[in-house]
Symmetry: C2
Subunit: 203 residues, 2 copies
DNA sequence: GGATCGATGTATCGGCACGATACATCTGGG
DNA sequence: CCCAGATGTATCGTGCCGATACATCGATCC
């Protein structure tokens, strides 16, 4: 998930870790900011996989091991996406399966990069997410109906609030989906009026 | 967090892992169910710490190593809380600091066991949680106001939705707090009217 | 009557994210 | 001049997760 997000951000321009973290926090919704304990290992993984490349000003691995006090003298390490990285990002951005929407964080990243995503893929991800959340809602409603009497007031409140949240998320997703469909219809109409008909049935 | 929840559940009656998992899922809100990859290690930690004790019907560690096909034949392992475990739970249930409400999961567990929590502690936890969530909301509003123009429609929607959720949570907490205060007032009035004041807090 | 399927049940593994922490650099205000 | 706070890189231990393996038991199906 983090790796996906990093690739997406580096799509725009090279960055170093600190910037990446701030951008990530901004994009991912202000709350859930990312910790360095996740970020740097992720950067290492991506670099090992050849998806990003670092411009490290001070290699520092040539010195003998007898300079422990010299461990400092770090320079900024700027990361840039590679050709393979762009390929990988294109793959990730176009996936429409459960891996795109089952996990909340995953889905958030997909949504954050929707401007790089084709319209039909966008729609399928939103619908998939809605189905997932609807299932959660139904399970929660069921569980609530069945165990209602055995729960104390606080547990009940907790579940009521959870149910309300999930319900709101479904409605939110429905708005997004409707809006996507409107856009698609408008686009189709525009294409119709124009003499060139590139529409092959994907309404 | 898990350990807290387990101690709370075992407060009622001994259970084995499978039951624990289901109860946990029921109490924690139906969605976030707990995985075995967390549960069994947690049980081990608790047992190592002497907070729970297991009734293992088949020790099975006496056999020589020449019975590899016999690895099965597992019995149910029933866990019960110990005296130290009850002590620890009492400590956990009465903590009012940030560790009780900063983390969402932590707070959920505290709320789930509010029936074991003193009224004044309940109130302090709810208020602490509200402050935490209010801070999140304010940070999010700020970030949204500042970066509004630079974000595309989808990122904006994501943040709007997140803000709405946080806002709803604040209102929900406020309802709970008001209700707690009403209860406290009613209780105080009741004590006033009654001539005998044996009430030392354990309502 | 036997096969098979789903619920019950215990357990481990690798992976990933987290919070805490350490340490270094630069900038600006007291 | 110094020191506080932003910038910046990095590691460590911990906790939780999904996937997986394996075993038992009852019910239903053929």
């Amino acid at each position: 998930m983090l790796e996906f997000a990093i690739l997406g951000l580096l799509q725009q321009s090279p960055m170093h870790g600190y910037e990446l973290r701030k951008e990530l926090a901004a994009v991912l919704g202000g709350l859930r900011s990312i910790s360095y304990g996740s970020l740097y290992p992720a950067l290492k993984r991506l670099q090992a996989a050849g998806l990003i490349a670092s411009d490290d000003p001070t290699p520092r691995s040539l010195l003998p091991a007898d300079a422990p006090a010299l461990t400092g003298r770090r320079g900024k390490v700027v990361y840039a996406i590679t050709a393979e990285g762009k390929e990988r990002f294109a793959d990730l951005v176009s996936q429409t399966g459960p891996e795109a929407y089952d996990d909340e964080g995953r889905f958030g990243v997909h949504l954050a990069f929707f401007r790089h995503t084709a319209a039909d893929v966008r729609l399928r991800i939103l619908e998939g997410r809605r189905r997932t959340v609807e299932r959660q809602r139904d399970r929660l409603m069921d569980s609530l109906r069945r165990t209602q009497e055995k729960l104390d007031r606080y547990t009940l409140e907790l579940q009521r609030h959870g149910l309300d949240s999930v319900d709101r998320e479904v409605r939110w997703l429905t708005e997004l989906i409707d809006s996507e469909r409107d856009d698609a219809r408008a686009e189709a109409a525009r294409a119709e009026q124009s003499p060139t008909p590139p529409d092959d049935g994907t309404t």
